[in-house]
Amino acid sequence: MTVNLTLIVLLAAFFAAGIYLLLERSLTRVLLGLILLGNGANILMLAMSGGSGRSPLYIPGTPAEDYADSLPQALILTAIVITFAVTAFMLGIIYRSWVLGREDDVQDDPEDRRVADQDSYDWEDDADVVAETSEFFDEDAPAERTGATAYDGAATREVRTARGDDDAAAGSRRQGDAL
């Protein structure tokens, strides 16, 4: 198999620039990086197809080695179409991201931040178990039931205030996040 040096140099440049752009935080540059990577992959496919040759039209008497390998060209064509579709879609969501938040950057996941910030102490898992008395209320009587729920809530609040200043602060912060 012959190797075309120009193609190798070209695809190395494409891959290097593509990966560099992919690591940027701006979405437009990420997209440009993806396009370069896609083109690099296509050039690699071309480089792998062997030397150049005749077009694949059947001419009697021509030895098989004289023809260029046409399969990689078909593969490249498919890959180009796919990259084209994905690029169009990416442009769409980048524009949408701009319309929604005037942001062209990769955004942080707020839930990730919240989980990372949360306290390792969890009052339901880690607090002392309180004696639960509400289950002895008569569940069938509707009037009693609403009373029981109210009592239940009050008891819970009592437990929450009783669990120390640090945890109360953590609790209020969590409530703040929820709002």
Binding site: M1, L22, L27, V30, L34, L37, G38, A41, L44, M45, A47, M48, S49, L71, P72, L75, T78, A79, I82, A85, V86, F89, M90, I93, I94, R96, S97, L100, G101, V106, Q107, D109, E111, D112, V115, Q118, E124, D125, S134, P142, A143, R145, T146, T149, D152, G153, T156, R174, Q175, A178
Partner: protein
């Protein structure tokens, strides 16, 4: 004419359905009817193929009559037939669920009418990936399903979905690029992209070259399958999509990656060259994934982490690569697709009933809706691997395979598997304790519907109509059903399918065992494509 010759229909029918539903974009009722009937017919064809698969063995369909290795072939063996049936069954259930959600909410002509065509294209892509016997066609299959998944992921174009969609699209495109680059290099080394032909020709290459090609393919598929450390993107992007979309992604997309990894390991690069590496990766995937799940309070995110964690079990079976290990992995894939999808569907119902998927804000669901309690409890215990559910049987098979191998690393892996199973139980118990068992009044900032009571003081039941003034969520709409039958029905069906995997464990394990043997032998596959004598 044998049943396996119907294989192209599994791809063509969803595509045709997609075209028709796209034309019917203004008629949502007709759209629903077309897409549901298309998938039903596809499922029936695939069941026929699966039933015939043990007797016909591996069978190749030549597309367009081109002789392999030049043309594209579709290969039906027991593994691919089983995957097709399971994937179509859950796709159908999720489709009915999604259609039910649309009907219950009354958004008849919203922008979501693009859902049906895109969904059918996704199914076609998945079927193509399972069936193809051509490496480049596998790439095309991946691209079909990924492009459809980009659209589904960003459905509606809200800010959180766009944010998650960007991560998802970029990561998926990079993995596809890696796959394309590996295909280019494999073509350069062997001059073919037909998988059976590759199985013969790759063996003749220099071992170092083989290793490079092997690892490149594994990295590309590892990103799609969300194997640690390539799994970072999954819990970030899946939870923001609509509930049915997350459910079908969780069930199918990672498993297509696992399927491709199985084919790479058994057909293209057999032997135990990198099995130790795979074992370490499997262990890390299981343990790191489940530790991530422990930290979450949002059920969807938590389930995404358990999804990553349980991919580790499949890699576990693949790394053992004995007949029993691989057979258990095949069974585990079928089990996990069903259970994970049903859990995500139930989470959609929880979100609908309780207004949120955050366990801190939920409570009392077991009493408010016992049906929801059962629907969550059964697959949760199934996932954790409690006997007699299918999760237990799959894990048992994997552990047996690990012990049979008997190396120190295999025992570490067995211990990791048991620990992960235990931690999964802990994670599920936490969700159960908070969302289902405690009183709604204990929840932080609960949704009004969770606390809503009727005039006589009793709480709002399962499928009671809630009028606008009961809650801000459904304000301004006609009375909606909280848990409509069209949504609970498919969920019940999937939970039942999960239970059926236990009842049918005997024949299913026999099937997956046979499938594993077929894959380890390799000759049936190669001879089915290239003709008798080629695999010798």
């Amino acid at each position: 004419m044998i049943a396996a010759d119907l294989a192209p229909l599994a791809i063509v029918l969803p595509f045709l359905g997609a075209a028709v539903t796209f034309l019917l974009i203004r008629h949502s009722r007709a759209q629903r009817a077309v897409s549901i009937s298309t998938l039903s017919v596809t499922l029936i064809i695939e069941v026929v193929m699966l039933l015939a698969a043990p007797s016909t063995g591996t069978h190749a369909v030549r597309l367009g009559g081109w002789e392999p290795p030049f043309g594209i072939v579709l290969v039906v063996d027991q593994f691919s037939a089983l995957m097709l049936v399971v994937s179509s069954a859950i796709s159908l259930a999720v489709l009915i669920y999604a259609a039910g959600q649309g009907m219950a909410d009354g958004d008849e002509d919203g922008p979501v009418s693009i859902f049906h065509p895109t969904y059918l294209i996704l199914v076609a892509g998945v079927s193509n990936a399972f069936l193809t016997g051509d490496l480049f066609n596998l790439y095309v299959g991946f691209e079909i399903l990924l492009t459809a998944s980009y659209v589904l992921m960003t459905l509606g174009g809200t800010a959180p979905r766009i944010r998650a969609g960007v991560t998802y699209v970029v990561v998926s495109v990079v993995s596809s690029m890696l796959f394309l680059i590996s295909i280019a290099m494999i073509y350069g080394a062997t001059g073919t992209v037909n998988m059976a032909d590759l199985a013969v020709k790759l063996e003749t290459l220099d071992p170092a070259t083989q290793l490079v090609l092997h690892l490149m393919l594994l990295v590309a598929f590892g990103i799609k399958a969300a194997v640690f450390p390539l799994s970072f993107w999954l819990p970030d992007s899946y939870p923001t999509a609509p509930a049915p979309v997350t459910a079908v992604f969780a069930g199918l997309l990672t498993k297509v990656g696992v399927y491709a990894m199985v084919r790479v390991e058994t057909l293209l690069f057999p032997g135990d060259r990198i099995n130790s590496l795979l074992m370490v990766v499997a262990l890390l995937t299981m343990v790191v994934g489940i530790l991530g799940a422990l930290a979450q309070s949002d059920i969807k995110r938590l389930l995404s982490f358990t999804l990553v964690s349980h991919i580790g079990y499949m890699v576990f079976g693949l790394a053992i690569s004995s007949r029993i290990g691989l057979g258990a992995a095949v069974y585990y894939v079928a089990h996990h697709i069903t259970v994970q999808t049903s859990l995500f569907l139930v989470t959609g119902l929880i979100e609908r009933r309780g207004g949120t998927a955050n366990v801190d804000r939920l409570g009392g669901l077991a009493k408010l809706s016992p049906l929801l309690g059962v629907l969550f409890f059964v697959p949760a215990m199934n996932l954790a691997g409690i006997p007699p559910f299918s999760g237990f049987l799959g894990k048992l098979g994997l552990i047996q395979a690990g012990v049979e191998l008997g190396t120190p690393l295999a025992f570490v892996l067995v211990a990791g598997g048991v620990l992960t199973s235990l931690l999964t139980l802990l994670v599920m118990a936490r969700v159960w304790n908070r969302a289902f068992w405690r009183s709604p009044a204990d929840a932080e900032d609960p949704d009004p519907i969770l606390l809503a009571s009727k005039a006589d003081g009793s709480s709002v039941g399962t499928s009671r109509h809630v009028t606008g003034e009961d809650s801000g969520r459904f304000a301004g709409k006609d009375p909606v059903t909280l848990l409509p039958r069209t949504m609970t029905g498919p969920t019940i069906g999937l939970v039942g399918l999960g239970l059926a995997l236990t009842l049918l464990a005997g024949p299913l394990f026999a099937l997956s065992d046979d499938a594993a043997q077929e894959m380890l032998d390799r000759t049936p596959y190669i001879e089915a494509v290239l003709g008798p004598g080629a695999g010798a």
